[in-house]
Symmetry: D2
Subunit: 350 residues, 4 copies
């Protein structure tokens, strides 16, 4: 971490950045109101900080040992003088702001009429962002892999349906990218790119998606501790993209008996993460519980715990959904969820 | 499970009970408005149900294979014709009824002035029941074991302080029993007997506490699945005592990195358990998180998820508390928690 | 921890013990060849060590902060000058010595002929100690609870069968105690008292069993970390009974899918525990895997990892066993297991 | 699954394959001695099996519902008539054959002299295959990312060093691929391509690596159940590449206390997986334990459990290793490990 003197010139900053690059690291330059701070990204053990401290314009040079610093609240507070949460604006929607945000739509996009019909219904129910899976990560190669599996044309067609449905019903759209080769295609149509739980550890994917510069919804892997989750979000921030929306979606259950839910919904992760980072955090009660009859209660719980919004799988006819039928709710049920969450948000005056 | 004919006589019921006992099992007799149902308690594999079905007054005799049936919602609905949750009245407090219930007090009772001062404060903050640990289960034999460790007299003195504090501030009191030899003593002074997480599997303790006939607060072990938790609650019900208040207090965290919380708070267990059993369920955010700065958010979450109330460790000076200082809140903080929870309860109109 | 001077007299030692008791703690006196060390048992935070250091005969007085010190290897090495594992002699069998020890028998004792028939068979197969459950901890109150459930007489009769079978076939016997009220009875007949996994956290039971002075086989709870397991073993040692045989028997599985085994067999716990404590450690592949077809491989693994022996559920007709049929092997299979383990033990020259 | 008649012609087989492709699925054709079996790969729910059954040459057509069938033992036995484990020949080494196989080398390749020096030493110690990480998956973007991070040229240079070291000391070489863009490069130099634990869920990577046709060492993710692990291996097999070497390397620890090991080494996974699939399985005690002082015991345990070999991180000066120093052993220690494992393998006569 390099803190520049308040009177440091632009050339002095550039010079420090150049020196950092000589060590094979990247520089994260934050220009605050009163001073500029330069975060080092990469293996700091190679760096001679005492030498950097002697460069013109440098006030202080120190090693900060934590796997996630660029996204940490402490870093933001100490170095950028900001104590607030990041607000991420996507079209007409602000994530992490004073209002709750609801993302809804089918697990899998199945057809053009399906996505238009659902888009209309979730919009009416109070949702702000439309989701729809096209490249589906599935545990079994023998399961439906999403329309993205139908070659580039099939994938693009499905993406266009999603895009058009969003346009028509005035909602930004989000969809998941699963492999590096589809990043460009997805980035062309999606307002927010989702990196799913199963790809959380896939550094090359993270880095390359980050470089598209679009907001990213980043889901926690079910086997990841909170520190690991944030450390991998740091890979995105390290590319200079801090428009990261975190999402808790359940961790591995323990126990030898019957599993009553698909995962253990780590609701506590919401306030814990809010104390660690300035990034907004949403929750996904659909995947976390895997049970339609638990969505209402656990949505309320997540909002009461402080989540900035929810991602909820919705379908006009859940039992018809090809994927995740047992955890999908109807638009009417979504409306009940949103109404209850809004009420909780109001009485807690957040 | 034996369902008697609606016109079955008292003698016929007694006769069936006698026959059940011959198999070495116990009988749980439920007299409903229209009919009587007799649950079998014990190893049903020894029983000849076709023979029982031929006894006079018997309408149906069948084996119900589930580790928890006496406390199951299905049993209650199908056989007792009741679809509601059990309400457990303790003094002036009703647990599981329309109102939320808050249990508060110190982790460990330390002195008479301490418990009186805390009792007054938590009452004022809105608590309904006073807690105070006297026999403390501790991981280390080298830690403070509670005043109960000071012989019978020390233990009884501490119990009396708790009892008197409850009397003075008009709150029923609850304290934990840790070993079989203290059951009688604890039952003499406590309005509700707590069986702690570490003793959840201790069948002999469960059975013997159940026989005292007092309401029991039964905490889930951190390694227990929900089915195991309910199966052990069934040991209490099997003694004819269904005044069981369940309590979720955190399960084992997974992961190789840093633990941000003491346990993983399984908030979802609240609605899941409500779908399985008619017993009321509370939550303990203090033990579940182990962090004072998370109590507010996670209390709101538990109530939003549907809990009938909370158990919260409270001390006028948390940092002075001998045990669990880092997870204990002040009475002022407790008031904020209770106020927020009441608001959520209201807007959800439960 | 108090280290006495080498020339300290018996009176000086007694005096220190007296002073320790004044603080409400117990003293664990270890007379080594050259010096005496006194461990403090209980809440050391109350103790003024600088004052103890000035007592006559005291060389050093210090606080040792670890939840398990009386059973720790470091304590034994530093203070008792012993670097070896404790060998526990039970009749003609030495546990923790140079030879492997095999405990075998049925999960549940069912009848006199059953236990005699099995005793003969396991002896022939190479087993050294006979096991047989009489008080069975079961998850469901509706399952067979062991012959111990048949009142005091039934329990005593079953214990006598076990005892006599052991006598006849020259094997010490081991059985589990589940509740405090049965300790005396079990201690009368058993050579080794087992405290099962479900009772690992039951401090009052531990303390009271420890006081009987007999060797104790202490099983790890499936939700217990190694530090917790050892911390509870310390409760036994704190009563002056260090004849503790530890036993690993599986921890909670994680994961959302199918469980292929009943528990996760934590084989690594064997060498880890051997680095922490001087107590011998056995493994129980029967409960850890829950699968008969895995016993051979996992027995070999546990011995290769360094276990001092095994506890294996054996029955002449596994499918007939009332409890744990699917994880029980035949005496012939036991012989194969023992032979393979002995070979591994030999080639590793342990 | 389509079973062809024994007299089915090549044209009939081709015709069936064509029909399968019309449904958007792939066909896995296995020509046995007596008959040909065609596995369907992909979403079978779209397929009309009754129609396929009427095609000329078809004896039987049925749906097999399991997430891993192409690699399952049952499939291999029932349809290919083979009851044996797959032996994978790589240069002069046979994996899964009668002899144990040891893979050794540094966690990270650091320089040309380093890899040559280590190659010589591990060869002398008895290793058969040389490992060396070039693209390193790391939890923190601020840690050393491997020489692969130095652009394409740096990566290729490092790969060439590994390749040459293998050539010189007559060992096939293995290295990990982390992102899709490096597959071609890695495939050019490596004899076996490793897919690491963190990439286990990365379907697009799996599919694309599989298509290179080279043997793949496929490591289990620390959060993956065995069924999930095998279901993702099926993604590789679905590309027609069954040269898959599975590797157990530790799963997430549970528990709230101290972690004595980095992961929980799931030794039991070895025999469990051998009952499910015909693929060979190795174990990696280095990552599983994270502790140098446990490698010997746990290597012995894994071999005793039935593993076909081990992967062990080795460095001439472990404390100098940039990555994973605390779990790396010396070549001398490796020799002890290999010698002990060979002895166990011999006495068990596997």
């Amino acid at each position: 971490m390099i803190i520049m003197k308040s009177e440091a010139t632009r050339e002095e900053v550039s010079n420090v950045v150049r020196e950092i690059k000589k060590y094979g690291l990247k520089a994260d330059v934050s220009k605050g109101e009163y001073r500029t701070v330069i975060g080092l990204v990469g293996d700091e053990s190679r760096v001679d900080f005492s030498r950097l401290a002697t460069l013109p314009g440098v006030k202080e040079a120190m090693m900060v040992e934590t796997p996630y610093k660029l996204i940490s609240k402490e870093y933001s507070k100490r170095f950028e003088g900001q104590d607030e949460y990041r607000q991420i604006q996507v079209g007409n929607v602000c994530i992490g702001g004073p209002d709750l945000v609801f993302i809804a739509g089918p697990c899998s996009l199945e057809s053009k009429p399906q996505i238009f019909k659902i888009a209309e219904a979730v919009k009416k129910a109070g949702a702000h962002i439309l989701r729809g899976g096209i490249f589906k990560p599935r545990s079994s190669v023998h399961s439906f892999q999403g329309l993205g599996a139908n070659g580039r044309e099939g994938a693009e067609e499905a993406l266009r349906w999603l895009y058009e449905a969003g346009k028509k019903f005035e909602m930004p759209v989000i969809t998941e990218v699963r492999g590096e080769t589809h990043i460009d295609l997805v980035a062309e149509y999606a307002d927010i790119i989702q990196i799913g739980a199963r790809n959380m550890y896939d550094q090359d994917l993270l880095t390359n998606v980050a470089r598209k510069g679009k907001p990213i919804l980043f889901k926690r892997h079910f086997g990841a501790g909170i520190d690991e989750f944030l450390s991998f979000a740091e890979y995105i921030a390290a590319e200079g993209n801090k428009d990261i929306i975190l999402c808790e979606r359940g961790i591995l259950p323990i126990g030898k008996g019957k599993n009553y839910t698909r995962y253990t919904f780590d609701v506590t992760a919401v306030p814990v993460i809010q104390k660690e980072t300035f990034l907004p955090i949403l929750a996904d009660p659909s995947h976390a519980t895997g049970r339609r009859d638990l969505i209402f209660n656990m949505s309320c719980a997540a909002i009461a715990a402080g989540a900035s919004g929810l991602m909820v799988e919705t379908h006009y006819n859940p039992s018809e959904a090809i994927v995740d039928a047992q955890q999908t709710i109807t638009p009417d049920e979504l409306k009940e969820v949103i109404d209850a969450c809004q009420k909780i948000h109001q009485v807690l005056a957040r």
